[in-house]
Symmetry: C2
């Protein structure tokens, strides 16, 4: 069966929360998950939206809900001081590594999320991303050059454009056999969809 | 104990879905719910937002999610042709009736939601609202005059302003002893909060 598609931005608290559960949910039903980091910036530009925390009324609620949602999910979480951050370096690193070692790419993604949302590390720079790759022994030496390679920049751009063409409007956005689910609070529905083949 | 506050716009599908469950959830824990119709227009103006269905990407997702969320909740639902609609007449009627007969006001609210989201009736006009009130024997004769009374207009305006001051940023928005929850997909959290006094 085709993999479940898991779209997220590395700067998205709800994306992080979903990342902690999505593989286990799919695994219970013998399904794989393809992680797809994207950039909310171009998506917001398309949808006419903006980061939740920058919006009057919603911003204050969101900051409260991030922490409470983490508690609800029993997930370690610390709101980073730098928020939101640029995540194109993290996403490029993911895709570059993914082409040769998908498992390690996923581990890098988990490491990046953890660094940002539990240790408060700003993971926006190439140096920060390379440091996390190094801690995984993930070809950190070549990664520095790769991050400035036009090919990998194009690759991320194409992934984001493809996501938009699929309707991805936020993070996390999960597609199960063509059925889209937006939000970490849709994981029960996601699991029911996987289990039943559509309800 | 003070009532749980249930804010909603009569034109909100997620508000409608929450309306079908909120009293039962609160009742299981011997709590009452105060229904508070508000207008998303002024709230969107404050938050810089707009109706979901008018937003690129999100609009298409929302139309799909309304129907699927109703199915998930086993709720009767039919997407109205006229959407979204003005709901100030419905909200004014609610508050006017509420001041003399709170129970009947809640029944009128349920009737209006049902007319709009299961029968596809456009409930935006004073006439449509009065017709639903008549079917409840809810002082329909006086209601016509009341809907144009400056006092009831001011009343609704004050309710909306108060909601905004409390942080209400969407529909449904439920406040349990000061704790805010936005979205029909937060009802499990709402119930856990009521049951435990905060988790």
């Amino acid at each position: 069966m085709p993999p479940i598609l898991f779209y997220f931005d590395f700067s998205s608290p709800y994306g992080y929360l979903a990342s902690l559960r999505i593989d286990e949910i799919a695994g219970r039903h013998q399904r794989d998950v393809e992680w797809k980091p994207i950039l909310l910036g171009p998506i917001f530009k398309t949808s006419g939206s903006s980061p939740l925390t920058s919006q009057p009324l919603k911003g204050r609620y969101a900051l409260h809900d991030f922490v409470r949602s983490a508690r609800w999910n029993a997930a370690p979480f610390h709101m980073p001081n730098a928020f939101p951050i640029a995540t194109h370096q993290a996403a490029r690193a993911y895709y570059w590594l993914h082409d040769t070692d998908p498992d390690k790419a996923k581990r890098l993604a988990k490491r990046l999320f953890e660094a940002y949302f539990t240790n408060g590390k700003d993971i926006s720079s190439a140096e920060a991303v390379i440091a996390e790759a190094r801690s995984l022994d993930a070809k950190a030496e070549s990664l520095g050059a790769a991050l400035t390679d036009p090919a990998i920049k194009e690759r991320l751009k194409a992934e984001v454009e493809n996501a938009i063409s699929l309707g991805v409007c936020g993070s996390p956005y999960i597609i199960v056999d063509g059925e889209p689910f937006w939000g970490a609070d849709r994981l029960d529905q996601v699991e029911a969809w996987i289990r039943t083949g559509g309800w």
